[in-house]
Symmetry: C2
Subunit: 423 residues, 2 copies
């Protein structure tokens, strides 16, 4: 629909540069810091959310539930009902995490007092942020908002976050590129399977944590919380993805995707050649497996900034490295997992030199999505995802696979064509 052939050499050069920056990314987890100290714009009543921009009236159930919960957590409302009334009256300022070097899983709410993981990309010098993973089930990122959810967030704010920050400062940070390389050899794809990286991170951080936390019972509680959460690493992988992709933005004529994300209503992408513009389409429903007692009728459409990990070649793109996750997300057998990675190779520009897949004789994961290839082949990115209940206050009900909507890629390509005068 847009003939980019005339500009092919220029686009190739631009994409070459984009891929080089992407593959040189050197992310290091360096600190955990309260959000308000990292993002000055995060005042009272400001709420960052997952996905492209959205206002209260179009927000899905779990995001509304999380908004009400976080307003009570921050002390802006006395209870969930009052928070809902405030939201509907426009008392809160909503912005995407992506506008502030941040990402958040599922509803992905970021507010002033929450501690954020800080990942520094030492190749490019930038930093990116993400909240600390809350665990599974009834948690705020899946729309949970009751007292137990808010108490856990308070414990993360008051105890775990500061302890992780001290431990990371003490040990000088944890380089993530080699950690992820190792995790891939251990069956993680860093989206719906993070057991290896969560374990490797814990064992690397535990000695410093033991020095940082004075009270033995506090320390034991923190080690148990991190150690019983196989998805603890997800939020770190997300901040890592954001830190790697942000420097890839704003390369004139590049057709490389720099962000994919969803807010439960819209799916949005950004491409390098068009800076911070969002190209959106209605988000799709995941196809997956449900926890006992739940079914597809309970599911909310796809949600979260977490698909930044697919943008860098992990998650669904690295499914071949993590055949065990294929069963968990209902994607089928080992052969089908390998097939998904093979298809993603058709829409990407390169392979990561260090993030390799043992079962494919150490071939790198497919990295650097080119919107031209997506539109030409008709193959859209496959994303591994968690599934939230569509109503506020309930939480996670399953896990599955979802496809990025083709319309986002078509819109982006059309807009780039217009910009380059070839539409």
């Amino acid at each position: 629909m847009v003939d980019t052939a005339a500009l092919a050499p220029a686009i190739r050069r631009a994409n070459s540069k984009a891929l080089e920056i992407l593959l040189q990314g050197d992310p290091v987890l360096i600190d955990v810091v309260p959000a308000k100290d990292l993002i000055p714009e995060l005042k009272e009543h400001t709420i960052l959310h997952a996905g492209p921009p959205i206002e209260w009236d179009r927000m899905c159930g779990p995001m509304r539930g999380a908004v009400a919960g976080v307003a009570v957590f921050e002390g802006w409302a006395r209870d969930l009902d009052e928070a809902g009334v405030q939201a509907s009256k426009g008392c809160f300022d909503f912005h995407p995490n992506h506008h502030f070097s941040a990402v958040g899983p599922m509803t992905g709410l970021t507010t002033c007092s929450q501690p954020l993981l800080v990942v520094e990309n030492r190749a490019a010098g930038n930093r990116a942020y993400c909240t600390v993973n809350e665990g599974l089930g009834k948690v705020m990122r899946f729309g949970g908002n009751d007292e137990s959810v808010r108490d856990r967030l308070a414990w993360i704010r008051d105890s775990l976050g500061p302890a992780l920050g001290s431990a990371l400062q003490c040990c000088g940070g944890i380089p993530l590129r080699p950690l992820v390389a190792r995790g891939l050899t251990m069956g993680d794809e860093m989206h719906q399977r993070n057991v290896a990286c969560s374990s490797l991170l814990l064992r690397e951080l535990a000695p410093a944590l033991a020095s940082a936390v004075a009270d033995h019972s506090d320390l034991s509680e923190m080690l148990a919380f991190m150690g019983s959460n196989d998805q603890f690493f997800l939020n770190i992988a997300m901040a890592m993805g954001k830190s790697i992709m942000d420097p890839v933005r704003n390369i004139e004529q590049s057709t490389v995707v720099t962000a994919m994300t969803r807010n439960g209503t819209d799916f949005g992408i950004r491409i390098s050649g068009l800076g911070d513009e969002w190209f959106t389409a209605p988000v799709e429903m995941p196809a997956g497996l449900y926890f006992p007692g739940f079914s597809a009728a309970d599911a909310n459409p796809d949600m979260g900034d977490s698909t930044i990990v697919e943008t860098i070649g992990l998650g669904g793109f690295a499914m071949a490295a993590a055949p065990a996750v294929a069963g968990f997300v209902g994607a089928g057998s080992v052969a089908e997992a390998a097939g998904i990675t093979a298809r993603m190779r058709e829409i990407t520009l390169g392979e990561h030199p260090e993030w390799t897949i043992v079962s494919e004789n150490y071939q790198g994961v497919p990295t650097g999505i080119d919107i031209r290839l997506v539109v030409e082949t008709g193959i859209v990115p496959t994303i591994n995802t968690g599934i939230a209940h569509r109503e506020p206050g309930i939480g996670q009900v399953g896990a599955g696979v979802v496809k990025a909507p083709m319309a986002c890629f078509e819109k982006a390509l059309r807009a780039l064509g217009e910009r380059l005068g070839i539409s």
Copy 2:
């Protein structure tokens, strides 16, 4: 050479029973206790070693080095020279670990003051023991014996061992069957690759360890020691293997292998139908890869009780689950790793129902070696192994693959034939 056809139904019944006991094994790591409190026979000057019975005059270099080192460590000799003189004068009583419900890696020395891991097989009620892993390089199990080696053993005896014991008592023990199942999905084969199980164990044990150790700097040191040793789990896997196989002994007419082990000079096996009798042959040289600065000319022949893990279907038998280890031990590509597991299926009676290989669509690891199948097919067990320097005092120089000598299996089959009156 021995026609067992006439007794085939009886042997089949016996092996069926053997396999059932093997597959029902339910090993739980429950404690760490000084050896003298577990094995009353472990008096002063008594040394348990890896492999079938052997005396000083036939011991290989690294085992002699370890004997001298442990004699100084236990205070029986003032220095290594005096220890060597004592050994040559017959001052020490040598016995195999296997005669005392114990196993030890490489030289595998067990003496009175060393703390032993205790694994209880809750299906059969028996217990098995193994020392705590010392790390890699210059360590006693590879023949290292200098002050640094002995100081580390003293720290394990005085600090780490008691702390692990308290932590395990506090958390009620760690079930190993599910841990190993998970480790297999993460690329461990539990012999030369234990990074997943070592990490999973650490994260499970860390909260209790934090409660058990009063001093923060001690705790931090222990977490760092365990966390930086990818082979920490090996010794636990070995005690687990021993606890699973010991109840399989003494089933009349059974041709199932209950132990394979080597002392650096001889390779020995036991089979269920012939109780505690050893069938030995000269041990072979491993074929493998060497650490920088070392070569095959430095290598000692194969050594250690660790091949108890192959006896239960892990190590070389589970190579397909751990393709990354194939490169480490020089066994070749992913396809070759799968081929080794496939060949081991030809000499085993069954598959483990929970220890499965994701890449083989969750087929169980091949378990229960039948000496008849080994002799009939000419396929001997493939073992993943560490390689020690052949001289005392140096330590590990590489890792590789070694084959069990066919003569052991032929001797055992002949002896069984005689016992059953069909030779």
